[in-house]
Symmetry: C2
Subunit: 217 residues, 2 copies
Amino acid sequence: MDMSRVRVHNLTISLDGYGAGEPQTTELPFGHGAHIMDWFKATRSFHNMIGDPEGGETGIDDDFASRWGEGIGVEIMGRGKYAPGSGPWPDEWRGWWGEEPPFHTPCVVLTHHPREQLEMAGGTTFYFSDASPADALTHARQLAPGTDVRLGGGMTTVGAFLEAGLVDYMHLAIAPVLLGRGSRLWSDGLEGLESQFDEVRVTSSPSGTTHIEFECA
Amino acid sequence: MDMSRVRVHNLTISLDGYGAGEPQTTELPFGHGAHIMDWFKATRSFHNMIGDPEGGETGIDDDFASRWGEGIGVEIMGRGKYAPGSGPWPDEWRGWWGEEPPFHTPCVVLTHHPREQLEMAGGTTFYFSDASPADALTHARQLAPGTDVRLGGGMTTVGAFLEAGLVDYMHLAIAPVLLGRGSRLWSDGLEGLESQFDEVRVTSSPSGTTHIEFECA
């Protein structure tokens, strides 16, 4: 019996359902939509992550942000989270996060252009895989047996795992803004998604963010 | 100086932005999406409206639902709220609400097929108009000078007034469900909508509903 859960944390979309703006570039990974992450950047947990342990605020938003790493031993992310653009890799690209990425675990990057694994400082190793969601999950669990798997985004990747019924917990944050364009989380294939889960909890925070949790028992 | 405000109340959408499902029929005005209104149907205010003054629940949801009528002297609604389908009118159609509709004010129905006004019991009179949002507003204010104008929906009508910058207050309720298809509120033309308003407030309720208020000072 496999008790390892697949969890999504801090996935943030606008009111109109966009999780990133456009165009996505090396300088602006969220395109015109960077402000949807303002709630997260204001938290103590984010400031910890960037080496400023006294900075940022505690409270409801931070309570959610802080759960990102608990019990997680591996992450699965889409190509769009790891690098801008699509198609063959620019050889020199090592991720958005510099030489010591904040993951500190193996990370499986889903891509139609697999390449050699890339070991970074601080315990993060990127593995590149052309697998289906189910097979990527098997791979991730082999890399970190007995731990939970974080599904890190972006929108297309989370949508594919949701459509396949492979998500056990999803924390979604909705920023009270309209982006109008970009990458959408919700596809027609997700009609009735809430019924996949045993509980749906909704919590608003003083920043105007709505935190929605979908959870399987 | 005109202090009459244009207000939207209880406009309800799913997480993926649909305000009604499909297909819309005379029996099912919300198509497959009727459950997005469950939060509203559980309120004391709704029960009052249907002649059951002791029924329903008070609380956060009811606090929002109860503000529907305060200071309102006239409503503007789209064809889609008044009747199913499109094109020329079925002659016998007198609205979804029976002989005594719950509005008790003049109502301007936007349609490409204007026809004679229709006086109902209890103070509701339907006026049918092919006007632009701005002209419909002038007409509504002539029908009920000095009062606020309620913009009653559906999605296309509210979207058109938002795009024209004519809304002073909008209470939007988001139900924690995915409809996957139907009429969407958000269009690309609404990018940055939040900046039209001076304040955006977000309140979650025990029913899992997120109430978002957009308000001009």
